[in-house]
């Protein structure tokens, strides 16, 4: 059995999804090693196997027991989950047959409302597979002989992946040679488009491989992938590569820039409510203006410090709208820094409606359109402040 597994053909395995790539061996929860069955096959083997089972070490025994316990546990959890789902469906008045995980989540949120900040701390009901970490399947048989040929590297899945990459690379080279030998020289292969995605992080790879990697090993793996994806014909293995890449936050997700409104005199204007720390600012930017600014019914000297005035002027100068628009702002709460920051954000957001897309992008890159999420850090007990500690006494 162990030998056969080595010669498993790669292509058929590759495209089944990353998980299936490595779960060639039965998982703990699915299969329990049926010792009695293997024993009763062949009379001759029986004696041999019987004697082998007798020779089974204590370590092996306890390993098997643990596997069984875990298996049963997961089965029990799964059973409870399914029952629980049906109960929930009945409670919520929905059809138990078509009760999906999203429905479950909604129901839990409704029945157990939580004010906790971290989503992971809130009550949840999910499939046991998602809650209980996956374990590797039995890595060796009854006789202690490992299934995987690279078992004694202690990271068989990792090294398998590395070897696969090397093999594939050679295959791509052979493909390239074939193309060249056929004389199709001008045919440029389509480039592998990796923009908008990044290599999945170390934690994710570890979850997939079910092995912990050192940083050096992870870096090595990524380097290998990079080299692989730089091959001119790497587009052939696109699906394989994309299994190990995750999409970045879609930059195509442009926020809808609101349309300009018109007031009674026909002048275009835009309003925005901006926040910074605990201060709120309501900013109205009016077009066809001369650069008049009004903050809480006073002029720019509402802010006495130069740095606060600079904050206000920055978006207007940056987008070349200084002297072309009027600004009316009301602000309250917190201190001058937060207030000026809030007004700055308000002005920037309003100016989006007045300027072209290129300027909006420049503003975004300049950080004018991002909400500043920094808030005052909480004081912790046992410390004088958020970070400051009490005087440390050696004795």
């Amino acid at each position: 059995m162990a030998v056969l597994r080595e010669l498993v053909v790669f292509p058929s395995k590759c495209f089944r999804g990353v998980r299936s790539y490595f779960f060639s061996a039965p998982l703990f929860q699915n299969g329990s090693l049926k010792l009695n069955e293997s024993v009763s096959k062949d009379g001759h083997a029986l004696d041999f196997e019987q004697s082998d089972t007798k020779k089974m070490s204590k370590a092996m025994k306890s390993y098997m027991e643990r596997a069984k316990i875990h298996d049963n546990f997961i089965k029990q959890q799964l059973h409870e989950y399914n029952i629980g789902k049906r109960h929930l469906a009945n409670m919520m008045g929905k059809d138990p047959e078509f009760f999906t995980q999203t429905d479950v989540d909604e129901a839990i949120r409704y029945l157990f409302p939580s004010g906790l900040f971290d989503p992971r701390a809130r009550p949840m009901m999910k499939h046991p597979d998602e809650i209980y970490p996956k374990r590797k399947a039995a890595e060796f048989d009854v006789n202690g002989r490992p299934y995987h040929s690279l078992f004694y590297t202690s990271k068989p899945n990792y090294y398998t992946l590395m070897h696969d990459l090397a093999v594939k690379f050679k295959q791509l080279d052979r493909h390239e040679d074939k193309i060249i030998s056929r004389g199709i020289q001008n045919q440029k292969p389509t480039e592998l488009f990796l923009f908008g995605s990044e290599w999945i992080p170390k934690q994710k790879i570890e979850n997939v491989l079910l092995e912990s990697l050192t940083d050096a090993q992870y870096v090595n793996l990524i380097k290998t992938f990079e080299r692989f994806s730089q091959h001119p014909y790497s587009v052939i293995e696109k699906d394989f590569i994309m299994q190990f890449r995750r999409q970045l936050a879609a930059q195509v997700e442009i926020q809808q820039v609101p349309e300009l409104m018109r007031d009674e005199s026909g002048r275009p204007y835009m309003t925005y409510n901006a926040r910074r720390k605990t201060s709120n600012a309501t900013v109205k930017v009016i077009g066809q203006g001369t650069g008049v600014i009004s903050i809480n019914e006073t002029d720019i000297h509402f802010f006495q410090r130069e740095q606060d005035k600079k904050q206000i002027i920055f978006p207007l100068q940056f987008s070349d709208m200084l002297g072309k628009v009027d600004v009316v702002a009301t602000v309250d709460g917190c201190g001058t820094s937060a207030q000026s920051g809030a007004i700055r954000l308000g002005i920037s957001m309003c100016l989006r409606s007045f300027v072209n897309a290129e300027t909006i992008e420049r503003m975004r890159l300049a950080g004018l359109l991002s909400f500043d999420p920094r808030t005052r850090e909480r004081k912790k007990p046992g410390q004088a402040g958020a970070r400051k500690k009490f005087t440390w006494k050696k004795r």
Binding site: H301, E306, I313, L322, G323
Partner: protein, 367 residues
Amino acid sequence: MIRFSPTETITNTFRTNELDPINHRKDHDGRFYSISQSVKKQLFSGGGLPKEYKELSETLNGLSIMVRKPAIELITYLNKTNFDAPVNRYVLYGKTGSGKSVSLAHILHYGSNAGMVLVHVPWVPNWVRFPKGCTPSVIHPNKYDHPIESVEWLRHFSTQNGPLMQKLELKTTETYAWSKREMTAVGSPLSELIDLGMNRAKHATDCVSALLCELKKAALSKRCRVLVVIDGFNSFFSPKSRVRREDKSIVLPTEFVLTDAFLSLTRNDWNNGAIVVSVDASAHPSELRESPLPRYQLGKQGFEHLDPFIPIEVPNYSEKEFHSQIDYYVERNWLQQPKARTERGRAELSFTSGNHPLSLMKLVAPY
């Protein structure tokens, strides 16, 4: 550094050739006219120009004042005044640092050129907040003298009006007995009165009162025309001063002899003159700085004293005035950053200073 002299032909648009304030009209609005060193020394050596403004003018090689709307308005009124009618009171008001003192300086120059006797108090809070030693008055019970300040003021008066007083040859109309042995007889020249005050600090305050009284009478009898210019007038009605009695109680400004003297002069019971006064929030303690408007700054007492008056607002720079100011700074090489001379730079300066004269001056300063 270009040294601007009065005879130079002017090719730029922010200056004007017209150096006589009497001729300043609307088309001079936003333009700078220069004041010669001799005039500056005569008029402002005892005060009258704000300290930083004066220092800047010395750095920039010559005092140039911008002709602005409030001053033009005042000059038009003063030119058209019917001097047989009781005196008009004009009150300049506006935010601190908007240009009231400089407008008053402009009017002072006008008065000097128009041959008016100048009664000029550079900054009243100096008497109320930083008196150099108040003594109880001998003649007036429960009142307080300012011996040192009165001497200084008499000196300032004689510097400003020296040549004119010599020409006018005004005489006292009554006897003033200073002590058992000292007295000033009727018909003695006013210069004698002034000299007495300058030499005898003890009697200086009363000299000032006497002088103001005499000037009032002289104006009434058409012997001279008097222009009263007082900066920070609302300080006379301030709720507190820095003067304390022995029992640590605060002396109010209304209990000063000087206050009485100037309040009597600013009453409209005489003619052949004009009274130009400014009220500023910074002349009051911080509790009374909410609004720059005259009624608030003068309080009930002050308002009743000055009512009826003509209020003249001194606003922030208009766009034309602002550009003129920047042109001046650029020409004088005070604005050295090349970016400051561009349109964008000007827009930034305008925005950050809010077109406020004092803010602009501070913004543009290298310190």
